[in-house]
Amino acid sequence: MNVTVEQEFVCRGHVACPGCGAVLAMRYVLDVLGKKTIVVLPACCWSVINNRYPTAAVKVPLFHTAFETAACVATGVRAALDMKGDNDTHVLAWAGDGGTFDIGLQALSGAAERNDDIIYVCYDNEAYMNTGIQRSSSTPFGAWTTTTPAKTFKTKQKKNIMDIMAAHRIPYAATATIAYPEDLMNKVRYAAGIRGTRFLHIFCPCPTGWKTAPDITVELSRNAVRARAFPLYEVFDGTRYRLTHEPAQEDRMPIAEYIKPQRRFAHLTEAEIQVMQDHADEEWGRLMKVTETWPAG
């Protein structure tokens, strides 16, 4: 491991489930951003993880807000700071996939269109985990959730939020995941060094919602990259692409192997798994094409 967490801004005693990936994401991001950060938090797992008032696990100022408002509240906090003449405090909107892909999309699109000076992190655990594992538009094809039970599992593919953000031509959008902390922290560092709307899509496995053992959270995160279900890349100005980690040929694995320990996919037939594989191959092929056609410097 070439990186470490120098300063802990997440306090022990938080109430995340054992093996929670979202805690690691917060821990890595805040270590890079430092104490001059204000977190804007819509309804999501983290509003629970942070624990009840008057305690808080996050050791920087944190603003709890409504589900659909992460981006616009962040915009407001930014405006207030700017009026005070404070332009070196980071404003970090921290929303889950439900609050980003679905409910908060309109506010996010607005902020991105205005290129408001905020860092928006979507920590993606692929369903509304906090409220009881309901399907979101980030839930992948085939997954069981409480609103898409195994018999009628989700038949729509996961929405491509990165394409949506890239279409806004924001200065920086990147994917990251907890198994690659160095890559993740480098991306946060880059984002912290520029202005405008910066979007980070951080993939965070969820033992509770994915029906997996808590000890394989990091392994699943790594396997998602190795199976090319979640590629690690960045998009500059919405137009120039760079792959930051390409799994070595011998490290690659089929989607079937990646989903095997996840009981949310336990009901799938081989043909259905093949649908997932074909989708992953197609998305990867498309990503390869755009990175070749529009490479970042």
Partner: protein, 571 residues
């Protein structure tokens, strides 16, 4: 990132969550423990493999050599002739090829040319006198360890020099004399008294037991088994060891145009390849098939490459003279049911006789111990003696090396010599032998003299390949040992291959997973979602903050080298 001095807020509206002791959620607990690497646990000589490779990785070969010399005085020798079971046990084996541990050891041993011998410091004199009978690898290892423990050691050797089989049997193309000489420098440095030309009998040993505090018998196994066939006593029919011993003398034997070697062990291979280099055309007769040959696989392969002919499933029936040369009458065999050794028994095929012409016939079907002593019978109580680390029915007499019930390789000899030295020291200092044995045996296998001397405890568990997280190791090519082309090497007795170059050795050392030993990589700390890893090492490993650890087990899963295991809570 630069940070301006920030103003503290006037009031804190929230408190931290430290009051919330999430450790109470836990039903599994991570246990951090230094473990034995499989290579080290299996090493017959008990080399501290992970430690010396860690130094080699850094390019600190002085320290690497010093680590090896704690356990094994003969790294240059073992790096060449040991069949390196460590590499088959290596957890990297099925991933992208085991670490070439023997090549690293060989380089470290040869590094003594630059670094000096790096012999560990000798303990204060104990005033105890120990005699060692035989200056082969077992006797030398026993003498070395006993001297390091502060005892006064005298070696009595029948021949005119130290080394035993190293100098008298293993041919120079495998082990040049200079290499042995380099490793044997400890005899003078540790003031070990070496008396040569002393042939010792069983009754001498019993007498010596009265004069010395302990006697270690390391007389080897020199008596060649006889074929028990007609014509065995003819001139030109020689036992393998005798042939090899002559090789190491001033006048090399002249095997003539055709040599038949009978047997399939290492002595047979050495004799066959030596005869080939002396100009003979060599045929090896072995009564089973290649798969059952007891010789090291590498030796068989090299013999084949050099053009030695193998006649498998063939055994001699009779040797006849025919003029100046001889005729070996042979019979073909077939494999029957398994015998006591677990190998299929060769059964003669009726009417399958054939003849081979030979100027010299070398018999190499095994050797046994020449010494016949009342306190020790090589065929009885083998297991007991082995478990007893050379202790015999006489509490002042110990046995090690080929004379005892040990596997017959140099590395096993080194290991058994060390065990005997420790058994002697434990006895002389009144330590509880069983407790000592328990304390210093790594993962139930190898024995560490350094741990014996320091009073520490050897790791009891061995890292299994399933405990290694391969995701943290890039696949890299294995160091391929340098070799010499067969037609080049049969021209003489020059050493085959060469010691690898320093940068190649460092790169190979960097492939080591350091199984079972914490390298402070930080994975457990980095991936803990509950910030519950106490990184300040205690006993060489991190620990868990049990107040907050929820027992998710990510640390155990992400530890690259198998140090962390999950255990049920309150068990």
């Amino acid at each position: 990132m630069t940070e301006k001095k920030t103003q503290e807020p006037l009031i804190y509206t929230t408190q931290d969550t430290l009051g919330n002791k999430t450790g109470s959620w836990r039903y599994m607990r991570p246990v951090f423990e230094t473990k034995a690497a499989p290579c080290a646990a299996i090493c017959p000589a008990g080399n501290p493999i992970v430690s010396f490779i860690t130094f080699a990785k850094e390019g600190d070969f002085d320290s690497a050599l010093r680590m090896i010399k704690q356990e094994n005085p003969l790294p240059s020798v073992c790096g060449r002739v040991c069949p390196h079971p460590c590499t088959s046990a290596c957890n990297r084996y099925t991933y992208d090829g085991s670490v070439a541990i023997n090549e690293i050891e060989r380089f470290c041993g040869d590094f003594a040319e630059q670094a000096g011998p790096e012999i560990p410091e000798r303990a204060g004199a104990t005033g105890k006198k120990i005699a060692v009978v035989g200056a082969g690898p077992a006797g030398l290892s026993c003498a070395y360890q006993a001297a390091l423990m502060g005892h006064e050691v005298t070696i009595l050797e029948a021949s005119n020099r130290a080394g035993g089989l190293l100098t008298q049997a293993i041919p120079a193309y495998r082990l040049p004399a200079g290499v042995v000489r380099r490793d044997l420098c400890f005899i003078d440095i540790l003031n070990i008294i070496l008396l040569t030309g002393k042939t010792i009998t069983a009754s001498d040993i019993e007498k010596m037991a009265a004069d010395y505090d302990a006697v270690a018998v390391a007389c080897g196994a020199h008596k060649s088994y006889r074929l028990g066939i007609e014509g065995e006593e003819l001139a030109g029919v020689v036992p393998g060891l005798e042939f090899l011993r002559k090789m190491s003398g001033r006048a090399a034997p002249a095997p003539g145009a055709k040599t038949v070697v009978i047997g399939g062990g290492n002595t047979a291979m050495d004799a066959a390849r030596a005869a080939l280099r002396l100009g003979a055309e060599v045929t090896v007769l072995y009564r089973r098939t290649r798969a059952e040959m007891p010789a090291f696989p590498g030796e068989i392969l090299e013999a084949e490459e050099e053009g030695i002919e193998f006649r498998f499933l063939s055994a001699p029936v009779k040797i006849e003279t025919s003029g100046k040369t001889k005729k070996v009458i042979c019979r073909e065999m077939e494999l029957g049911s398994d015998d006591d050794s677990g190998r299929p028994r060769p059964v003669p095929v009726e009417g399958s006789e054939f003849e081979l012409d030979a100027d010299t016939v070398i018999t190499a079907i095994g050797e046994t111990v020449a010494l016949d002593a009342p306190f020790f019978s090589p065929n009885e109580n083998r297991r007991q003696i082995s478990n007893a680390w050379g202790r015999t029915t006489n509490d002042r007499i110990f046995i090690c090396g080929d004379a005892g019930p040990n596997d017959r390789t140099v590395a096993h000899a080194v290991g058994s010599g060390k065990r005997a030295a420790i058994a002697i020291d434990a006895q002389l200092s009144g330590k509880d032998f069983e407790a000592v044995k328990q304390r210093i045996t790594l993962g139930g296998g190898a024995v560490s003299a350094a741990i014996y001397r320091s009073g520490a405890e050897a790791p009891a568990k061995v890292v299994a390949p399933q405990a290694v997280n391969f995701a943290y190791f890039m696949r890299t090519a294995r160091l391929e040992a340098a070799t010499t082309a067969p037609d080049e090497r049969i021209k003489g007795f020059g050493e085959i291959g060469a010691t690898a170059a320093e940068d190649a050795v460092r790169a190979e050392a960097a492939r080591c997973f350091t199984c079972g030993v914490c390298t402070e990589c930080g994975n457990c700390f980095m991936f803990c979602p509950d910030m519950s890893i106490i990184t300040e090492p205690r006993n060489g490993v991190p620990a868990t903050d049990t107040d907050y650890c929820k027992g998710c087990g990510i640390c155990a899963r992400e530890c690259p080298r198998g140090i962390i295991e999950m255990e049920e809570e309150n068990k």
